[in-house]
Structures are given as structure tokens and as C-alpha cells.
């Protein structure tokens, strides 16, 4: 090689450092805007003339934003719990059952559904929710979130169960444990990290979902945070951008924290799920 090792390493870090900066810069910028004194908003480029946290206080002490965050938390977590419950059972069954034609068919069906986004179903879903009187309810959002997460979740969890040797269960069965006992005492502890990763991936997806709640909610006290942010963007554009920025930051903190705290499992789950376990 023509270049010495230190030079190459330096070039690599410059390249990746630059790339990483480009990716994180917009995020840092919105944090910067959120800390600007009122009225300065987007003016001033990168200069922070004063440090003002009052926009966060305004948002958090108000009526609307805390309510929106609460709505988001309830629906995102509720939906993720539903998803995790349904797909842990399904994945266990599909991983351990006989490899019959029905089973392979089911797995392929889930795979196909995973690739067909819920977006094209948004109008019928809206119509159905409206006919059933479920607009502006947690029920409609939790059920829909729960269902939309199932296909990916089934594949993530199946890949995980496939990797647990059946000898573990057989050994326990030989020792006289019944099947429910095996499930609770042996499999559940092993499966917990994967279940948790699957849960977090779904919470993040649901937390960030914008379009579905936009369609399902019209009452302002039922709107979730992303929809409230969209309203703010329209209402406060050009006048109180600092407030909009603070809302952005508050909305992005939970997913980013969840992701960073479990990034390895998170990424592995996503890659394995998308690439079929």
C-alpha cells in the first residue's frame, strides 16, 4: 500500500467524522434554536446570543403539550404491548411447530404484509374507525399500532426462538417439567432481552407515527405529540420557532434514549427481522 497506516487511519476518521457531523448537525441545530431567547428563532445562524430554557417551561407547564405526550405514551406503549404479546406467541408456535405447509404459508404471509405499508389502508381504516365511533379514542390507535407491528415482530421473534436449541427445553422436560413450566422458567428468561428489543422497536415506531394519529384524531385533547407538533408548526411558524424547536426536542428525546440504551439489540433485531430472521 502506498499510504502509511497512520495516514489512512486519519483519513478514515476525517471522512467518518465529517459524515457523522452532517448526519447529526440538523439535530444539534434544532436544539440550538430551542435555547434561543424569544423572538430570535432562526435568525443568527449558529450564534447563540443568550441561553433561554423558558420555551421548555412554557410547553411543559401548559395544558396541551403534556397531554399530547401522555396520549403518545399511552398509545405507543399500549400498541407495543399488544404487538409483543401477539407476536411472541405466534413466533414461538411457528418456530417450534412442525414445518407444515400452513406454517410456511403463514410466515410468508407475514413477510409480505411487513412490506405492504399501512399507509394505503389509511382511508378504509379511517372509514371503519369512524363508522365504529372509534375516532378520537385510544382503542383505535392502540389496536392499529398493535396490528401494524405484528409482521416485523413475528420475524424478529422467530429468528430469536430458532436460535435457542431445543435441547434446552427437552432437558427440562426430561427433568419432569411440564410445558407451561418450561415456558415460564426456562424460555421466558432467555427470551426476555429479545422481547424487550422488539417492544422498544415498536414503541419507537408508534411514538414517531404521524399519519395514522393525524387521521384518527380531531379533538385537540386527544392528539398525540407528533400531530400537536404539526399544528404548532403551522400555528407558530415565523413567530415562535423557538417553541416549535423545543417541542421537537422533547418529542425526539425518548426514542433516541431508548435507541442508544439498547442500540446493539435494536440494530440486530431490525436487520434480522428485515432479512428474515
Amino acid at each position: 500500500m502506498s499510504h502509511s497506516r497512520p495516514t489512512r487511519t486519519l483519513a478514515l476518521h476525517l471522512l467518518l467524522g465529517g459524515t457523522a457531523f452532517l448526519f447529526i448537525f440538523p439535530v444539534l441545530y434544532v436544539v440550538l434554536v430551542s435555547l434561543r431567547p424569544s423572538g430570535e428563532g432562526l435568525s443568527g445562524g449558529l450564534v447563540l446570543s443568550g441561553f433561554d430554557t423558558s420555551h421548555y417551561e412554557t410547553l411543559l407547564s401548559g395544558q396541551r403539550f403534556p397531554r399530547a405526550i401522555l396520549n403518545t405514551a399511552i398509545t405507543a406503549i399500549g400498541g407495543a404491548l399488544l404487538t409483543v404479546f401477539a407476536c411472541t406467541l405466534a413466533a414461538y408456535g411457528l418456530s417450534r411447530g412442525d414445518a407444515t405447509r400452513l406454517q410456511r404459508w403463514l410466515l410468508n404471509a407475514f413477510l409480505l404484509l411487513m412490506m405492504l405499508p399501512g399507509l394505503t389502508n389509511i382511508i378504509p381504516l379511517y372509514k371503519l374507525a369512524s363508522d365504529l365511533g372509534l375516532l378520537n379514542t385510544y382503542t383505535s390507535l392502540i389496536t392499529t399500532f398493535g396490528g401494524l407491528g405484528v409482521p416485523l415482530g413475528v420475524w424478529i421473534m422467530k429468528g430469536f426462538f430458532d436460535a435457542i436449541p431445543r435441547e434446552v427445553e427437552e432437558a427440562a422436560a426430561i427433568d419432569g417439567a411440564t410445558r407451561p413450566q418450561v415456558l415460564v422458567r426456562i424460555l421466558a428468561p432467555i427470551a426476555m432481552p429479545a422481547v424487550l428489543a422488539n417492544f422498544l422497536i415498536n414503541v419507537v415506531y408508534n411514538w414517531n407515527n404521524f399519519f395514522l394519529p393525524l387521521m384518527f384524531t380531531t379533538q385537540s385533547d386527544r392528539k398525540v405529540a407528533t400531530v400537536a407538533l404539526f399544528d404548532y408548526q403551522v400555528a407558530y411558524a415565523n413567530t415562535q420557532n423557538e417553541l416549535v424547536a423545543a417541542a421537537c426536542v422533547l418529542i425526539m428525546i425518548p426514542p433516541v434514549v431508548m435507541f442508544i440504551s439498547m442500540r446493539e439489540r435494536f440494530m440486530a433485531g431490525l436487520a434480522d427481522g428485515a432479512m428474515k430472521g
Binding site: 439535530v27 434544532v30 445562524g45 408456535g93 410468508n108 409480505l112 429468528g159 421537537c248 440494530m267 436487520a271
Partner: protein, 313 residues
């Protein structure tokens, strides 16, 4: 599970555990499986399969005050003669191709870099992943501010030197901003999938090619890329589906404007249904999008099956 952050662990090429029922289980296991799958199947039918079928039904009717009146093919006929629909198709196509090509090239390049050994890999990967963790709407707000006329970030920075930044006010510029913003958001996921595939290639194959005198470019083209080709197809299908269905970002960055020049199909569908109250027409657009998605989804399935035939996973 594959470890993306480390490359020294056994990849998916490692021997797999046996699956299938443990020996000596009762033949009723089949029914147990059905029971276990039931909740997942029920949920999926309720929020995906039934609504899809229902959207077919709605697309052949008009909806007023909650009642559906059949109108045959009228909605589709209307679409075919609507200039705005065709404009939307064209915009989606241009946007989709640009988005997929740029994301793909960038993700592949980064994946090749990340597939080598160096310090700080996990850190860089995590940082690049952050945009993917953000909501479309948050990302949209930020990117709008970047390019906003009169007082956006780039205006503040470049305005005094080069004159006003008016990118968002021009149809081509606005579309370009959307492409950039979505590439920024999606690169990490594509990178993740390609990197996972690269890690399944054994070092020996690459080493053998090197000993045969193949240069870096030649090894990439003749060894690495063909080996991960199914994965590359999967990534392209994934990205294509994403681009057809991106809506939150478009709503918050350009609102489909200027005029309706960045009104991609999903936004067109939403506006027909919600702003103009034409649920039937909206459903017809949804059905069209469904079939476009279906083509990509089937491509994805075929690529995955080829991948397992190659023995990658």
C-alpha cells in the same frame, strides 16, 4: 442474532439450532401452533387484510354521510383524466428514483467502510443512525428550517454571500430538498442491512481473490457485490416502498408545494380523501399504490428466497 457493531463474532453463517417440534411431542402440536398464531393473525386481519379488501370496495363507490354508493369504475376513470393525478405520478417517480439511487450508493459506500476494523466504529454508526430514530414530522420541521426563504439556516449563512436562498420556492429545488431530507433519514437503515450481509462473507474468499491478483475495485465488483446481490435487491425494494409512502416529511417540509409540484401520490390520496371529502377517489389512489407496493414486496420476497438458496442465511 447478528451483531452489527462487532465483526469478530460468528455471523449468520454459523450453524443454526435445529427447529421443529421436539421429539415425542403429541400430534396435537399443530393445533397448539394454530392457537398460538391466532392473536397475531386476528390483529393482522383486522388492521391490514380486511382494510385492504375494504379499500377495493370503497374505490368503486362514493361516500357521503358514511354511506357508500356504488359508482362502478367512475373513480378510476376520473383519475385517468386528472392532470393532477398524472403530475403526482410523475413527481413520485422522479422523487422515488432519485431517493433510491442516492440512498443506495451512499449506504453501500458507508457499509464498505464500516466493514473494516477501526476504533470508534460503534460511535460513528450510532450517530449516523439517529436520523432514522426521529419522527418524520420532527425531521420535516428541521429540514424546512434549513432551506426556508428569508430567514432559514442556509439563508442566514449563505444569503449575505450568494444572495437569497430560494430553493424551496422552486419545484425542482423543493423536490431536491425532499430527496436530501429523506436520504438523510433512511441511509442508516439501508447501511445496516448491507453491512449485515457484508459480514456474512468470509474473509478467505476476499483473501483468495487478492492472492489471485485482483485489485480492490475488481474484488468489489466480481466478488463482494455478486455475493450480497439478493440483499441489495431487498434494500432497493425496501427503499422503493418507503419512497412511495413517504408523506409526513412532505407535509411538513413543502406541504406539497410550491403549488402541487411536490405532491407525491400519498399526499394526493390524503388530500382527495380528507380535504375534498372524496373517500372513493382516495381509495382508488390507495389501490393503485397498493399494487405498486405489491410489485416491490414480491420482488423482496423473491430476493429473500434466493438469498436462502445461496446459503447466506
Amino acid at each position: 442474532m447478528t451483531s452489527i457493531l462487532r465483526s469478530d463474532v460468528a455471523g449468520p453463517g454459523a450453524p443454526r439450532a435445529r427447529s421443529g417440534p421436539p421429539e415425542g411431542r403429541s400430534p396435537r402440536w399443530g393445533w397448539i401452533t394454530v392457537g398460538l398464531v391466532a392473536p397475531a393473525a386476528l390483529l393482522t386481519v383486522a388492521v391490514q387484510i380486511y382494510p385492504t379488501l375494504y379499500s377495493f370496495y370503497l374505490s368503486f363507490g362514493t361516500v357521503s354521510a358514511g354511506t357508500v354508493t356504488p359508482v362502478g369504475l367512475d373513480n378510476y376513470r376520473w383519475l385517468l383524466t386528472s392532470a393532477r393525478f398524472w403530475q403526482s405520478v410523475a413527481v413520485t417517480l422522479v422523487y422515488g428514483v432519485a431517493f433510491v439511487v442516492i440512498t443506495f450508493v451512499l449506504a453501500l459506500a458507508l457499509a464498505l467502510v464500516f466493514n473494516t476494523q477501526f476504533r470508534g466504529k460503534a460511535f460513528y454508526l450510532t450517530v449516523i443512525f439517529v436520523p432514522w430514530i426521529l419522527s418524520e414530522i420532527t425531521s420535516g420541521v428541521i429540514w424546512r428550517w434549513m432551506f426556508l426563504r428569508d430567514y432559514g439556516f442556509l439563508q442566514e449563512l449563505l444569503g449575505p454571500l450568494f444572495g437569497d436562498v430560494t430553493v424551496l420556492a422552486t419545484p425542482v429545488g423543493a423536490l431536491a430538498v425532499l430527496v436530501v431530507a429523506n436520504v438523510w433519514k433512511s441511509v442508516a437503515f439501508a447501511l445496516l442491512l448491507i453491512l449485515a450481509a457484508l459480514q456474512t462473507i468470509s474473509r478467505e474468499i476476499d483473501e483468495a481473490a487478492r492472492l489471485d491478483g485482483a485489485g480492490a475495485w475488481r474484488r468489489l465488483r466480481s466478488v463482494t457485490l455478486p455475493l450480497i446481490r439478493p440483499t441489495l435487491t431487498v434494500v432497493i425494494a425496501f427503499m422503493a416502498i418507503q419512497s412511495v409512502n413517504a408523506i409526513g416529511m412532505v407535509m411538513s417540509v413543502t406541504e406539497g408545494g410550491p403549488g402541487s409540484s411536490t405532491e407525491i401520490l400519498s399526499l394526493f390520496m390524503y388530500r382527495q380523501a380528507m380535504d375534498f371529502g372524496k373517500l372513493g377517489v382516495g381509495s382508488a389512489v390507495g389501490v393503485v399504490m397498493f399494487f405498486v407496493n405489491l410489485v416491490f414486496a414480491l420482488t423482496y420476497l423473491r430476493a429473500l428466497n434466493r438469498q436462502s438458496e445461496l446459503g447466506g442465511r
